[in-house]
């Protein structure tokens, strides 16, 4: 089980959290103008990176707040967790 650092509550076991998939997906600004392809892209197409990726978590059994993390999807190492709305830390470059 992973230990995940909630930015608000500190380090807690993974079972307290809900995984929210890829982070930083922007809602379309002008939905009426969107083509079907663009809709599909927004709704369904997700990064499924083998390596470091930005993702969302929710501390479901704790403060119930959403936050972001950078995690490695092979080793499961979590590099950093950070609050929504704060500056996005860059992903480590390949090889790190």
């Amino acid at each position: 089980m992973l230990l995940i650092e909630c930015p608000y509550c500190g380090r807690r076991p993974e079972i307290e959290f809900h995984h929210g998939g890829e982070a930083h997906i922007a809602r379309p600004e002008d939905p009426d103008a969107l083509s079907d392809e663009a809709w599909a892209n927004y709704l369904y197409m997700r990064a499924n990176t083998k390596g470091w990726r930005h993702e969302r978590w929710m501390h479901a059994a704790g403060c119930r707040r959403w936050f972001n993390a950078i995690r490695h999807t092979v080793s499961n190492e979590i590099l950093v967790t950070y609050e929504m709305g704060t500056e996005t830390p860059p992903l480590p470059t390949v090889g790190d």
């Binding site: 089980m1 992973l2 993974e14 079972i15 809900h18 995984h19 998939g21 079907d36 392809e37 809709w39 599909a40 892209n41 709704l43 369904y44 197409m45 997700r46 990064a47 499924n48 083998k50 990726r53 993702e55 995690r71 999807t73 092979v74 080793s75 499961n76």
Partner: protein, 416 residues
Amino acid sequence: MTKFSIVSIARNALTHHENWPRQWRNPDPKPSYDVVIVGGGGHGLGTAYYLAKEHGVSNVAVLEKNWLGGGNTGRNTTIVRSNYLWDESAHLYEHSLKLWEKLSQDLNFNVMFSQRGVINLAHNLQDVRASRRRLYANRLNGIDAEWLEPEQVKAFCPILNVSPDARYPVLGATLQRRAGVARHDAVAWGYARAADARGVDIIQGCEVTGIMREGNRVTGVDTTRGVIKTRKAAIVVAGDTSVLAGMAGLRLPIQSHPLQALVSDSIKPVLHTVVMSGAVHVYVSQSDKGELVIGSGIDALTAYGQRGSFHLIEGQMAALKELFPIFSRMRMMRAWAGTVDTCPDASPIVSKTPIDGFYINGGWGTGGFKSTPGSAWCFAHTIARDEPHPLNAPFSLDRFVSGRLIDEHGAAAVAH
């Protein structure tokens, strides 16, 4: 290819089974092929076999980065059934089940397909309604399906706890008698042997690292054993589908998750069928060797590490004990995980792509073993004719744009 028969077995018995020839060649890659299939699991090897057998395309290479059947084909809980809800899925899985019924004869290789029946338990009123709805849908599609009341469930599987006092009482179950299990490695080996006999080059230890393109057309693949030219590249790399599609510049609606299974010590035969419960999340059968083969849901996070979390095993064991008090003192022998690639509608992608000569078969999630023959058969058609067969046309990539999703979360029975 040596033909397996009672005579060949008797002959080899005389020499203590030490003189069986190799069952497939181990060739070096040629500079080019008509079709390159990436991924030597059951689906990839099966695709090569049907390309050669049904379409006369035998200048084909199957490239596998590790060893044959070392991916999800060799890691699953081997359940084969066709009781899916929607017509599109029912037709595809039923076509597959029909091929399973003749597969050992077709391949001249015993895949140990055992039609011992699969029951899917219902634990609350909503389960009962959803299960019965699926059952009627199955019957309308000509697929065998029966409803069992709790006492019939008990009669069919006596070691199951159907007490109304159970935490998740059994309110009934669907039964598909033609469903069952198969020997997963044998499926990969049987297809490999039969494809090789028809001239397909099966190349292990060869990882694809790039998809080469000229304009919008595939021209070859880059591998750890050099460049191989081809005008048709097909990826069948469960778990890694996004990674390989990414090499061709395609984004997919797929997320990869760990899915684990475990087996117990071997015991005498006690469980003659397959029992699945989507609600409490465990499914179990007994292998011919006597082990309980136990599966559960996926890890919620996306990961490629082929390692599941312990808290899932805990939940799965709790459910198993609840349903089968008789197993409460069983020892578990080993656990492992695969990486499954899941689509938003819990249905696969078997499809051409916007890139000419680039084909995708993936996204089978937690349930692609049962479909191995049918998937491979349709995919071979798609590659050979450059158009989908009517059976896999609904499973095209463009359904995410058209909105014609095939929502099989209920019938998939495994949380994802």
